[in-house]
């Protein structure tokens, strides 16, 4: 059972309270973008076997979107953080590097 702590209301919620929202920090491309950029934004995903930054919504709680850093093989959670950022905060990166020294930043 996956348990994530909502960074807004501080509740440790199990996955049935949450709605998964897929890969985080995607750069959005609109109507004037090239076909490649638009395809990349809509469909192509990192899908890593390792650290994954992703979006979640506290659906049966405060209802807000937030981000989580999670390992897709061990399901270890490195931390959660609010959604109003374009990249993972330093604190989360440090938490990942403390556990996985080989993890390449941004990988």
């Amino acid at each position: 059972m996956l348990i994530l702590t909502c960074p807004y209301c501080g509740v440790a919620c199990d996955e049935t309270e949450l709605h998964p929202g897929g890969e985080a920090h995607l750069k959005r491309f609109g109507p004037d973008a090239s076909d490649e950029d638009f395809e990349g934004y809509l469909f192509q995903r990192k899908n890593p076997r390792g650290v994954h930054f992703e979006r979640w919504r506290h659906a049966y709680g405060c209802g807000k979107w937030f981000h989580a850093a999670r390992h897709t093989v061990t399901l270890e959670v490195f931390g959660t953080y609010p959604a109003q950022v374009f990249e993972p905060p330093e604190k989360i990166r440090a938490a990942i590097l403390a556990k996985l020294p080989d993890w390449e930043t941004g990988a």
Binding site: M1, D35, N47, P48, T72, L75
Partner: protein, 450 residues
């Protein structure tokens, strides 16, 4: 077409089958009486019964990799082995290796719920799945290996008004595609599957899409049968050989690096299901694929009580009874990316809760085993059988939650694609369809349960 014996590692390969002309004059009296040693038959069983079963040989070889192959397939699951088999059988390409990081058929081929059907809505899907279902019909004879194909019939329950409309539409589409299906009444559902409660209360059965020639097969045997035939054709099935890198020169593939050393090849087929993104990353391109765990469970074995496959997409559950008597139950996929091969508890609860309402008799069954497999989901829930940005590298992935049923058809089409550069079966399943917005949209018609 067999290779010289001197280059064949003899470990686990006591006999390389030769063509009929080569064998003439060499066959032992024993072989003349009973046929080639490698062939399974009732006579072989009788013969072995008289000599303490000492004559059975390994079903496939265990060779060390050669320096170079015409084609390498990464992934010795059903799809990879089927691809290799049809490369040899349909296109005469036999200098082929199939590399597997774990053991043969140990991924989703050994983890699915073995359902075979072809009642898809879109024409390209119906074509490849129906080709596949047709090949399953005589696969046991073709492979000389009992894959236990059981065309017991598959029904997809309509439990809402919307599903009735959806399945009637699919039935009409199937009629045009030449796939035999029909929309049946609740009474007929009850007749075909008496243990079902069709009156609800919450999800009454309002009808079903019925495919009488759908069914199940023994999943392991499909992989084993193909592996045996590949080995017999002189191909190398190399297990515990993880690919660690893909080598290319000037945008063209030249080989792979593996845990057993570098191997060169002209063509590379990547057939690794849930790990496609990882392997594509090695080759230097990205895929429109996300990997999630899909799980299944089986009950304790009970007396025969259900001789059809029932799928209930509204409540996310599907069930059939195996030949051993276990009720085989499939459920929902995790909503988040993961490679755990485990699945979540709440999905089991969700699936079983729904099925207990439709099949009240299973409420007192004990569940024996539960497991997960990593499925590769695409945006339109249709597979990718395609060339890639790297010349000579082909990818077969994205079968999502429904790959087992497609094994023979996928191998057939993908082998043709690898040899000729195009195949009518795979034409609509190229990677470029995402950029072009030309989806084969099965996410509504079949995206939930397989």
């Amino acid at each position: 077409m067999s290779r010289k014996l001197s280059v064949v590692p003899l470990v686990g390969r006591s006999k390389v089958r030769k063509s009929t002309t080569e064998r003439q004059g060499q066959a032992s009296r024993h072989e003349m009486m009973w046929g080639p040693m490698g062939r399974y038959s009732v006579f072989a069983v009788a013969r072995e019964a008289f000599r303490d079963h000492s004559g059975w040989t390994r079903a496939w070889g265990n060779p060390a990799p050669k320096k170079r192959y015409d084609a390498i397939i990464i992934g010795a699951g059903g799809h990879g082995l089927a691809t290799a088999y049809y490369l040899g059988k349909n296109h005469g390409l036999r200098n082929v290796a199939i590399l597997e990081k774990g053991w043969l058929g140990g991924g989703n081929t050994g983890r699915n719920t073995t359902i075979i059907r072809s009642n898809y809505l879109q024409d390209p899907s119906a074509a490849i799945y129906e080709k596949s279902r047709g090949l399953y019909e005589d696969l046991s004879q073709e492979l000389n290996y009992n894959v236990m194909f059981s065309p017991r019939g598959v029904m997809m329950l309509a439990q809402t008004e919307h599903e009735i409309r959806g399945y009637k539409r699919t039935a009409y589409a199937n009629a045009l595609q030449g796939v035999t299906t029909e929309f049946i009444s609740p009474e007929r559902v009850k007749e075909l599957c008496p243990i079902m409660e069709i009156r609800g209360p919450r999800y009454p059965v309002l009808g079903a899409l019925w495919q009488p020639r759908g069914g199940t097969a023994r999943h392991d045997a499909v992989a084993w049968g193909y592996a045996r035939k590949c080995s017999e054709m002189g191909m190398d099935v190399i297990q515990q050989c993880a690919v660690t890198g893909i080598r290319s020169e000037g945008g063209k593939v030249v080989g792979v690096s593996t845990s057993k050393g570098d191997i060169d090849c002209d063509k590379l087929g990547v057939v690794v299901a849930g790990h496609s993104g990882h392997v594509a990353d090695m080759a230097g391109f990205r895929l429109p694929v996300e990997s999630v765990a899909l799980q299944a469970l089986v009950s304790e074995p009970i007396k025969p009580c259900m001789d059809v496959v029932v799928m209930a997409n509204t409540v996310h559950g599907y069930m059939s009874q195996s030949d051993k008597g276990e009720m085989v139950i499939g459920g929902g996929a995790d909503g988040f990316n993961n490679y755990t091969q485990r699945g979540s508890f709440h999905h089991i609860e969700e699936t079983v809760r729904a099925l207990v309402e439709t099949f009240p008799m299973i409420s007192r069954l004990k569940m024996l085993r539960q497991w997960g497999g990593i499925v590769d989901m695409t945006g339109d829930r249709s597979p990718i059988l395609s060339k890639t940005p790297v010349e000579g590298v082909f990818i077969n992935c994205g079968w999502g939650t429904g790959g087992f049923k497609a094994i023979p058809g996928s191998g057939w089409g993908f082998a043709e694609l690898m040899v000729k550069g195009a195949s009518p079966l795979t034409a609509e399943f190229g990677l470029e369809r995402f950029k072009e917005g030309r989806f084969v949209d099965e996410s509504v018609a079949a995206g939930v349960a397989h």
